[in-house]
């Protein structure tokens, strides 16, 4: 089992080593009685959203299905 706090502020990198930024939030889909994680919100815009300065755009989302592994302080996603 993971916690939301353990996922946030991890570095997000692709398998080829490209840095995408830090994970600032997890986006989830609400269905009847469940909350399914669909994407990682990454990059600077994910951070400034907390201060009401800019909303997420689709470009700042990395689908959860792209997550390959979680190791150390990094989340590795497919290219």
């Amino acid at each position: 089992m993971r916690t939301l706090s353990s996922m946030m502020r991890r570095k997000v990198v692709t398998e080829s080593g490209r840095k995408l930024g830090y994970c600032h939030d997890l986006r989830a889909e609400v269905t009847d009685r469940s909350l399914t994680v669909t994407a990682l919100c990454v990059g600077r815009s994910g951070f400034v959203e907390h201060f009401g300065l800019r909303a997420h755009s689709r470009h700042d989302e990395v689908p959860w299905s792209s997550v390959v592994r979680i190791e150390g302080n990094r989340i590795v996603v497919s290219d």
């Binding site: 089992m1 916690t3 939301l4 909350l35 919100c41 959860w64």
Partner: protein, 522 residues
């Protein structure tokens, strides 16, 4: 008619309650040191506190969130904890200074020893808060504080050079001792923009259940009340310039400030000034002690409220009792309340900046008004806005809805769920969402399976500081299955009672002790 009366009473109380020991000390001392040259800082400070209060009141009306709810949600647990610690330190310093001011005013009236009067003042506040309804506390101290208007009369009677007063409103830098001048600029801004007033104001808005329809009232209260209150600050500076500066007196003692009204108006003026200071500083003491209790309770997710009977919000009540004891204890050490005020006011400038950033973030965010992307299409009616529902229902209760395929909704977990207040099925505040448990790793479907609540989870949010705070909070951990969540709005509403889920135990433990004190259930 009732609304107009309410507004008028609110404004009167705001005028009487505007001036606290910081305003008294800094406005008079600035006048005594630089005459009317610093007059321009007062309107800036007043505009600042109007904007700050109006914004926090608006956030309270629209989202049902007080300042520290918003601080924790926006800046995160770690920064929020830092903000809480610093605000509680500054609050305690301010409270100690205000209590010292009350004791000095009492000493001027009756001549008893200062330390005795401190204890009497502390006990008096406990009794007044315990037995009197908050409406009456507000009226007594607000209307008593109107005696401070004697300084406005004194300012007029001292016949200042009005041309110089007018020139003082034009911003400029003094060539004579610029560092002291800058110190007073910072001090005057800090004295006008005291965060405890705003904590108190926004928490009151939540308690009085302000709605978006009350935004006009909120604006009028903030603008008229603070602007008229600001005229008292101007009067104090005029008295400082026209009386203290021209006589070469430095008003280093709180009692000497009253002389500014006594000289032009005689004994009646002096008496009214001392009584005005007593009520103004006394009212500020109560605001400050409540502000400290609000902040802690809101950050920790405890039940809170000044309109509740003491046993209705046990840990909140215990907090303000402890703060009062600590405040009295600090001044009993012999520290000068005026010096304490100066330190507190200068530190306040830093606190305001931190809170403003969090609350403006809260105010700006469209989420508070309900981003449509997070709402079920069928539930996006205007009436939803009045429910302040910026989240979404997690399930449907009606049979029809159960068979209907619900549309899929998006929710940012950190922004929309984490650090939100937990409310049980009976409407009781019973904790915060301290973390979320997620099951499913890479290549699998990841689902939120539980809410994690309690100080035991603070360590994983804020390192050693969180572990320390968690240890101080008892280290309790409660896991609430996501199935028990009824609704995610500006709060997370649960299907069960707090006791069934193991939440709110701290309040339940303290309550029996408080109930032994007469009047705890009034």
């Amino acid at each position: 008619m009732n609304k107009i009366l309410g507004l008028a009473l609110g404004i009167l109380a705001a005028i009487g309650g505007f001036v606290d020991i910081g305003d008294l000390v800094f406005n008079t001392a600035a006048g005594a040191a630089f005459g009317y040259q610093l007059m321009w800082v007062i309107p800036i400070g007043v505009v600042g506190i109007i904007l700050y209060s109006e914004m926090c009141g608006r956030v309270a009306a629209v989202s049902e969130k007080a300042v520290f709810d918003a601080v924790r949600e926006r800046v995160g647990f770690k920064a929020g904890l830092g903000a809480l610690v610093s605000s509680e330190i500054v609050n305690l310093m301010t409270l100690a200074a205000e209590l010292g001011g009350v004791a000095i005013a009492l000493q001027l009236l009756c001549g008893l020893p200062y330390r005795w009067l401190l204890v009497i003042a502390g006990l008096g506040f406990v009794i007044v808060i315990w037995i009197t309804s908050f409406e009456w506390i507000e009226r007594i101290f607000g209307y008593g504080g109107l005696c401070m208007l004697v300084f406005a009369v004194a300012a007029a009677k001292l016949s200042p050079d009005w041309t110089k007063v007018g020139h003082g409103f034009l911003p400029h830098v003094s060539q004579n001792n610029p560092w002291l001048y800058l110190y007073f600029v910072v001090g005057l801004l800090g004295a006008a923009m005291t965060p405890y007033e705003v904590y108190f104001y926004s928490s009151g808005g939540v308690e009085e259940r302000w709605k978006p329809a009350d935004l006009g009232m909120n604006r009028a209260n903030a603008i008229i009340g603070y602007a008229l209150g600001g005229t008292l600050s101007i009067a104090l500076m005029i008295v400082g310039g026209a009386f203290f500066l021209s006589h070469g007196i430095s008003p280093e003692h709180l009692g000497s400030i009253a002389l500014g009204a006594g000289q032009p108006l005689g004994q009646v003026g002096l008496l009214l000034a001392i009584v005005g200071i007593l009520f103004a500083v006394g009212g500020a003491s109560i605001d400050t002690v409540f502000a400290g209790a609000y902040n802690l309770a809101q950050f920790c997710g405890w039940e809170w409220g000044r309109y509740r009977h003491p046993s209705g919000a046990p840990r909140f009540t215990l907090t303000w009792l402890v703060l009062l004891v600590l405040g009295v204890g600090i001044v009993m050490t012999g520290v000068d309340p005026v010096v304490l005020t100066e330190y507190a006011v200068i530190l306040l400038r830093r606190r305001v900046t931190a809170d403003l950033s969090a609350d403006s973030a809260c105010g700006q965010r469209r989420g508070l008004y309900g981003p449509l992307s997070q709402r079920p299409p069928g539930k996006c009616s205007r009436s939803d806005l009045s429910r302040r529902d910026h989240g979404c229902r997690v399930d449907c209760d009606s049979a029809d809805d159960r068979h209907e395929r619900r549309p899929e909704l998006n929710l940012d977990l950190g922004l929309g769920v984490l650090d939100h207040q937990l409310i049980d099925s009976e409407g009781r505040r019973c904790g915060n969402v301290d973390d979320l448990a997620i099951e499913g790793g890479p290549g699998e479907t990841a689902r939120v399976v539980a809410i994690l609540a309690g100080p035991g989870y603070w360590g994983q949010r804020a390192g050693w500081l969180g572990r320390l705070a968690g240890w101080a909070g008892g280290g309790r951990r409660v896991r609430i299955p996501w199935e028990d969540v009824a609704e995610v709005t500006s709060h997370v509403k649960l299907r069960k009672r707090a006791a069934e889920l193991g939440l709110g135990r701290g309040d339940d433990r303290v309550r029996p002790y408080l109930k032994k004190i007469p009047g705890a259930d009034r």
